[in-house]
Amino acid sequence: MTKAITRRGFVAASAATAALAASGTTLYGCATDAAQAAEHTASVVNTQCSACPKQCGYAAYVVDGSLDKVIGNATHPYAAGTLCARGFGSATESQAENRLNTPLRKNAAGFYDEIDWDTAITEIASSLKTIATDEGPQAIAAITDGTSTAQWYTSRLLAAYGSPNTYVSASAANTSIASGLALATGYSSYEPDYANAKVIVILGASTVDSPDPGTIAGLEAAKEAGAQIVMVDNRMSQSSSLATEYLGVHAGTELALVLSLAHELLNNATLYQAAAASMEGLDQWKAALSDYTPQWAAEITGAPADSIVSLSQSLAKAAPAACIDVTWMAMFGGSYANTGELARAVALTNTVLGCWNTKGGAYVAAPVDWTSCAFAPVATTVTDITATEAPLAVDGSAATLIRLAHDGSVRGLILVDANVVAEYPDPTYVEQALAACSLTVAVTPTMTETAKQCTYVLPELVWSESAQIPVVSGAKTPVVAVSSAVVEPAVDNARSVADIMTSIASSAGLTTAFPQTVEEAAAALCDCLNTDYDGACAVGTVAFGKTNQGVTDEATVAVWPTASGKVECVSAVADAAGVSACPVWVAPVASDETEGLYRLTTGNQALLFATELTDLAPLASIAKEYDLEGIWINADEAARAGIAEGDKVAVSNDHATATLNAHVTQLIEPSAVYMACHYGVENEDEKNANDLGVRQASFVPFALETGYGAPLLQESMVTITKAGA
């Protein structure tokens, strides 16, 4: 045993993985002789984690057909050589007990009949065709989970029917952040250069609370190099040790913080002058900011004015190696009435810092142009159905689509891996929206709350059971990650989303070309990135040059993809949409300082991603062991209400009432409570999740952010009382 370890040494995992992967697909483990070697023969398949949108690339070792080790790709910017708790915990997802294995169709009595695939595909294909013909392609729509294959095939199918209405479920929540950024810069996301930054202001703890390993590695490096990392949240997360400072603010108020930082920074002549060159309407914004002093912001946010002043000073000093980080900020991003404007304000403030595409600053993620691809995106002639109601939403708004369905404007709705009943505000409203459609199709590996509301349920293969469309990730050094099938399907009659969409297209006789296999599409897409698909499969994740790309390397952006070619402080579109022309203070809508009323905040936990993972046994068992589904309440407030740690409490408002365990803590501000999302799966088919926690969204009315169309997931107040008292 000693030998094994000394002989192999502590080779860096990265080097080992790369070398093994490069040497072919069949590998020998640490065997001392031939007999043992045979025993340990593993094949290595490069794939990706599908447990969250970061889609970390990893090498899956397969021994005798079953999954052995999983090793994160060292070259993947998010995996950074490992995976997170969710990645490891979901790797064996195909083994979940409750897999669906037969297409189902709801009968008149409301029960499901098993049907065969041909029937299901033919009926769905022709229903979609009938709707598209009779009521126009606008009347059909789809929501996917945004993973590459689901999104690629589903949007292609809908476009083939003439409909542009394919939305990403994530956009339910990150619409306003992406759109606010786009409104200002033309780019809908960016990536801080953590490792080289001098000052990073992180809005919302979840960058570190629901982390990908790459981001953590970057923050670790920054901290080691002496960077100032400020975490702004109304709750201090478990992972706060990654930051050097914590700045507590009232929930929903950091727009005020950012506006006052901008106010201070623009008083710095050097920064102002440098910024003016690349910003359109800076004067106007500066004028609009005149009242937003640190004292003013202190009143609103609860953060001390001198902390705000000194933060603005360190930002100014560190610029351009400094930025404000809203990361995905989807949840928090899609949560308050002011988050689109917050994103805009952040984009503008970062521009003032001069941080774009410079070392230690932040890199904008340039979208890939796929038009030269053999399977180029299919254009449609109509505009997306949510564009009128949510004109600012950069890729449309899934939540607005739900509203339109509720109002009867959508007839056919396909839901691919999107559990909209569980994940959108007011589950009853969403159920009604699904019921209002004449055709609803759920494509899903397991019977979810959403699937139960659909007319057709199609059993799907999970990620590890089929090949996938490649994913481009990272802004600073973009990579492409490929994904092959790892294990044989655990069920014999489920199909991949690619097969399902392709067969619907062919049954409907649509003219748009679909690839024969996912691999064919993947190869074509890789081609477009000047990358060899087979080569990529051997290593999993490969960097590609900037040949096809706009901005990547260390070059400041000369021309921004906006109307003026500059970063825009003033937006006529925003003005027309009922949002201010340049970002100003907007208060969150649900504010009530009555004693005993709390704002219900939410967010992700390190352990879970969406309801899909809540049901996975290794993750659910940890959630149970540590009571992670409990509701956080400030200890002083709890003492006043006679609530002790672990007590059962009743959480209540006009929309819902539920009982769960209290987590009494000093880690949260007194005026808010926190309930992690993705619990409260009310579905007896999901056995592990079924008795875990309460659904936060059921306390929230169905309401959307003006212009942006994001659901207001944190605009609700609740009372907390000791249960039975």
Partner: protein, 180 residues
């Protein structure tokens, strides 16, 4: 010279992310409810001047291992290189070792009834892992594995530099060192 394996866990770096636990479960093929690592959490202060610490615990591979001294069958025993082993083929599942372990880090396999625990799995590396999985998986590099008897090992040096100590002082002469 003998090897005496040990580990360092730097709780000032640990973010309580559970990666080490699910990674250990995956790479060592444990049952979904079988976790070799458990966590204790401690918060201090009042909002907003507050802090929180996570302490991952797992088998300390004690030199004076109470689990091994109470185990009637010898299933729990001191193995080679200072690694305390849990022989699944000998264990009758009397759970005596679980009661005797002062750190509460032994777990009963709910399928076989036998008791298991951290294996210092670096010695079983193959198929991509090169050290203990929990060490490799930790995104903050809060863990170091190595030879305590080699004063030049990364581990021995870090123990001295960071002034690391077993969690319960001299009790059981544990071989996991903590930085607090």
């Amino acid at each position: 010279m003998m090897t005496r394996y040990g580990m360092l866990i730097d709780t000032t770096k640990c973010i309580g992310c559970y990666s080490c636990r699910t990674a250990c479960q995956r790479q060592n093929d444990l049952l979904p409810d079988e976790g070799f690592i458990r966590y204790e959490h401690k918060e201090t202060g009042t909002y907003p001047t507050v802090s929180v610490e996570s302490v991952p615990l797992q088998c300390m591979h004690c030199e004076d291992a109470p689990c091994a001294s109470v185990c009637p069958t010898g299933a729990a025993h001191m193995g080679a290189d200072g690694i305390v082993e849990a022989d699944q083929g000998r264990c009758i599942g009397c759970l005596y070792c679980m009661s005797a372990c002062p750190y509460q880090v032994r777990v009963r396999n709910s399928k076989t009834g036998a008791v298991d625990k951290c294996r210092f799995c670096a010695v079983q590396t193959e198929n991509g892992t090169t050290s203990c999985t929990c060490v490799e998986a930790c995104p903050t590099h809060a863990r170091i594995f190595g030879d305590l008897d080699d004063p030049n090992s990364e581990l021995s040096k870090a123990i001295v530099e960071r002034d690391a100590h077993p969690i319960a002082g001299d009790l059981t002469r544990a071989k996991i060192y903590y930085v607090r």
